[in-house]
């Protein structure tokens, strides 16, 4: 009964949104424009509230174990803690789509109501948002209905969710990611509305700047959480796998980064507007593409929801139509968008343009990596595998060079060539320090990997040039853009940490019986396999190895485990990690051999904490930018 109410509320929202569109597109009553807008806003807001309440009821249904609803029966269980009953809602396709839509509506609701009622773009933006929301609500209710019942009696108990999913980081990761993805519907709709409206004297950048920054924060956090979870859970010590689903989250993030940089430029001066508009549309288009890829079932990924082509076709045609609509308006207005000024080479605009060009190319390389296997398989059935070798060769150099352009652009001038002299002054010391560091690192590491060293160099260059700039500006009492500095320091640190990790990290596979001990190398002086125990915990049985290590003089105790969960009989492997400042000692237990010894996989991962810290820095930097006091 309650489920039906929730269902009905969502259906009513569909009706109201349809009314909004029909009124504005087909009928023009003999009412003033402002009255029609007021009516439309009322209908829209009511529709939003209906869905919010509908979702709220759905959460109640999940908490109260209503197993007559198929989705809740399939993904939740009465024994789950309340927190995980709620998070089970977004553990599979229908529920996570519902959440996606709720966030889409939340962003739209907040933005459209915050827009001044006399803002000329309010109505076109409202229509665009209504159209997008309506399309997704219909998708949900027609092809992926979370309200479907198990008839006639419902299930007595739910299936347990995958124990792997009962993890706080993994539970929060989708909402963060979705908040990021759908947040860019604002820039998408507003820019399309602006282009449609055609008044190019309007200032549009300020209206969406902070909204986009917030969405960017969520997207960054979402990606970082996923990466962090994968690191400690999957037992391999890797944090990025170039899995198609990871890639489709990375592409909007890259577009958003390029967009933000372009937006700052175009809001200050009359340049790069065309780029900014295109990028603003591209971000959400890539989010839509991501939703399609993940939910249509055409991709082989451990992440993807198992789905049928019908859903894929709907998503494809709907996303495609929306994107085509926006891009058509963009293409139509393109001639009018030309700036009156020519881009001067060596100017700030030129560096930012180069950055945009390189970032778009890097997005394209990921896009190609994701779609190429699909293309080839559909043409002649061949299977191609694309992974780190491809992305490290193609994507990494592009992004590193793009970052260098951003760095140079900070001290460049608007519409004037940067003199070689000033370039030299800003970059000389950082470049010198970077080379010296590279030399020292090489001497210490005695490993050579061109890509890694370029990464280290690029990262250090960014870090040193920002420190240089901060010190300089501080002593000359010049303005320091804190948000930008912190975020870019984070970026430089990311490049540095990822590259150092790839050079210094190593793995050892060991084979020991309980009670045995071995000296692995100079760094891992002792590896002592004390004991192996079997015991029971709340809903699983555990095999736990007690290992004591002497690593670089420090004694570390690790307990890697194998677990068997009662409900589904699922076996998982829990790695034991000791995270210190410079490195992580990462131990996973493997199989037992006939002579009762066990295999262990010992990974020493360097600079892992620095990677997480760099993500935090970037988020902090964006945060500071949002709350930057306007320069008087």
């Amino acid at each position: 009964m309650i489920g039906e109410i929730s269902h009905l509320l969502s259906l009513s929202a569909v009706l109201l949104l349809s009314l909004v569109l029909i009124f504005n597109l087909f009928f023009s009553f003999n009412q003033s424009h402002s009255n029609q807008l007021i009516l439309s806003m009322r209908l829209f807001n009511q529709a939003c509230w209906l869905v919010f309440i509908s979702f709220g009821i759905y959460i109640y249904l999940a908490i109260s174990d209503d197993f007559s609803i198929a989705y809740i029966a399939n993904h939740s269980n009465s024994q789950l803690p309340i927190f995980y009953k709620v998070t089970s809602i977004w553990s599979a396709h229908e529920g996570s789509m519902f959440l996606w839509i709720v966030f889409l509506i939340a962003w739209s609701f907040l933005f459209i109501n915050a827009l001044d009622k006399n803002h000329p773009l309010k109505k076109p933006t409202l229509l665009m948002l209504s159209l997008i929301i309506l399309g997704f609500l219909l998708f949900l209710l027609i092809t992926s209905n979370p309200f479907e019942r198990i008839l006639p009696f419902g299930a007595i108990e739910g299936a347990d969710i995958n124990p792997v999913l009962q993890d706080p980081a993994l539970a929060i990761h989708p909402p963060m990611l979705y908040l990021g993805y759908v947040g860019f519907v604002i820039s998408f709709s507003f820019i399309t509305a602006y282009l449609f409206h055609g008044d190019f004297k309007l200032d549009w950048e300020q209206d969406i700047k902070n909204w986009s920054l917030v969405a960017w924060i969520f997207l960054t956090i979402g990606i970082a959480l996923g990466s962090w979870w994968a690191y400690y859970e999957l037992g391999w010590g890797g944090y990025w796998f170039w899995d198609p689903v990871e890639n489709v989250a990375l592409m909007p993030w890259l577009a958003a980064t390029a967009f933000m940089h372009s937006l700052f430029a175009s809001s200050k001066s009359d340049v790069l507007k065309t780029w900014t508009m295109f990028l603003g549309i591209l971000i959400f288009a890539l989010s839509l593409f991501g939703a399609f890829i993940v939910r249509s079932g055409i991709i082989d990924s451990v992440h993807s929801f198992a789905n049928d082509p019908e859903r894929g076709l709907y998503l494809l045609s709907f996303s495609g139509s929306i994107t085509l609509l926006a891009l058509s308006v963009f293409a139509y207005r393109l001639p009018s968008l030309k700036s009156s000024k020519l881009v001067v080479s060596g100017s700030k605009e030129s560096f930012l343009s180069m950055n945009n060009i390189l970032m778009i190319t890097s997005i394209f390389s990921i896009f190609l990596g994701v779609t190429y296997p699909l293309i080839i398989e559909s043409i002649n059935g061949d299977k191609v595998s694309i992974g780190p070798p491809y992305y490290n060769t193609i994507f990494a150099p592009l992004i590193l060079i793009a970052a260098v352009f951003i760095m140079i652009s900070v001290d460049a001038l608007w519409q004037r060539s940067m003199s070689l002299r000033s370039l030299f002054i800003t970059m000389a010391i950082p470049t010198f320090l970077s080379f010296v560091s590279i030399y020292l690192i090489w001497a210490f590491a005695s490993v050579f990997s061109l890509l890694a060293y370029i990464g280290i160099f690029s990262g250090l260059l960014i870090i040193f040039s920002y420190i240089n700039r901060i010190i300089n500006n501080f002593f000359n009492k010049k303005y320091i853009n804190k948000g930008s500095a912190v975020a870019h320091l984070g970026l430089g640190l990311l490049f540095f940490a990822v590259s150092m990790n790839s050079i210094f990290s190593y793995e050892k596979n060991l084979n020991l019986a309980p009670g045995q001990s071995i000296s692995v190398n100079e760094s891992v002086q002792e590896f002592y396999f004390k004991d192996i125990r079997v015991f029971s915990a709340s809903n699983h049985d555990v095999i736990s190895a007690e290992v004591s290590l002497l690593h670089d003089g420090k004694e570390i105790s690790l307990n890697p485990q194998k677990r068997k969960y009662a409900t589904r009989g699922q076996i998982t492997s829990e790695s034991a990690i000791h995270a210190s400042f410079l490195k992580d000692t990462y131990l996973t237990i493997g199989d037992q051999l006939e002579n009762s010894s066990w295999t262990f996989s010992l990974k020493i991962n360097y600079f892992i904490k620095w990677i997480w810290f760099s993500a935090a820095l970037m988020v902090l930097g964006i945060f500071l930018t949002i709350f930057k006091k306007k320069a008087s």
């Binding site: 037992g235 391999w236 890797g238 796998f241 198609p244 790069l272 507007k273 780029w275 082989d300 990924s301 451990v302 030309k338 700036s339 000024k341 020519l342 881009v343 605009e349 343009s353 060009i357 390189l358 190319t361 394209f364 390389s365 190609l368 990596g369 190429y372 061949d382 299977k383 191609v384 595998s385 694309i386 780190p388 070798p389 491809y390 060769t393 592009l398 490993v447 190593y506 596979n509 060991l510 084979n511 020991l512 045995q516 692995v520 079997v534 049985d541 095999i543 194998k562 068997k564 009662a566 009989g569 492997s573 493997g590 199989d591 037992q592 051999l593 006939e594 002579n595 066990w598 295999t599």
Partner: protein
């Protein structure tokens, strides 16, 4: 293998012991590898590095995605052992990948070969870059 665990839900002591043994036995592998303490011991560190790099570039034939380095599957273990043997035997990286591809298919290699349509894959981004640069330099107004 799930059949082994029918006994696991009972509570008497001897059954508990049997249950523990069965749980442990689940992870038992019949192995023909010598029981050395350092598995994958090499003659020099260059070989070791080659090994760990290779296994990160060979795809697990049984998994949805991922390399044999990141996989626990029995076939991944077999493949790792084979790569190890081949390195000690003196095979080159290319020969090893060839060996694996002959048996498990061309998609075992995460580094697509530079041949045929794969040119689009490897050079596509650069052609794209050239195109965008051309558009930009011709327009010069942003």
């Amino acid at each position: 293998m799930g059949d082994y665990f029918y006994a696991l839900n009972s509570t008497s002591n001897s059954k508990k012991i049997m249950k523990k043994q069965l749980f442990m036995a689940f992870f038992l592998v019949l192995s023909s590898a010598a029981f050395t303490q350092i598995v994958y011991e090499f003659e020099n560190s260059a070989q070791e590095k080659r090994f760990y790099l290779l296994i990160s570039e060979i795809r697990c034939p049984k998994c949805t995605s991922g390399s044999i380095a990141s996989s626990d599957a029995p076939i991944s273990r077999d493949l790792k052992n084979k790569v190890y043997e081949l390195i000690l035997d003196g095979s080159t990286d290319k020969e090893i990948k060839q060996y694996v591809s002959e048996r498990f298919g061309a998609f075992s290699d995460y580094r697509p070969s530079l041949s045929g349509s794969n040119y689009i894959l490897w050079f596509g981004p650069f052609i794209f870059l050239a195109l965008i640069l051309a558009i930009f330099f011709i327009r010069r107004r942003v």
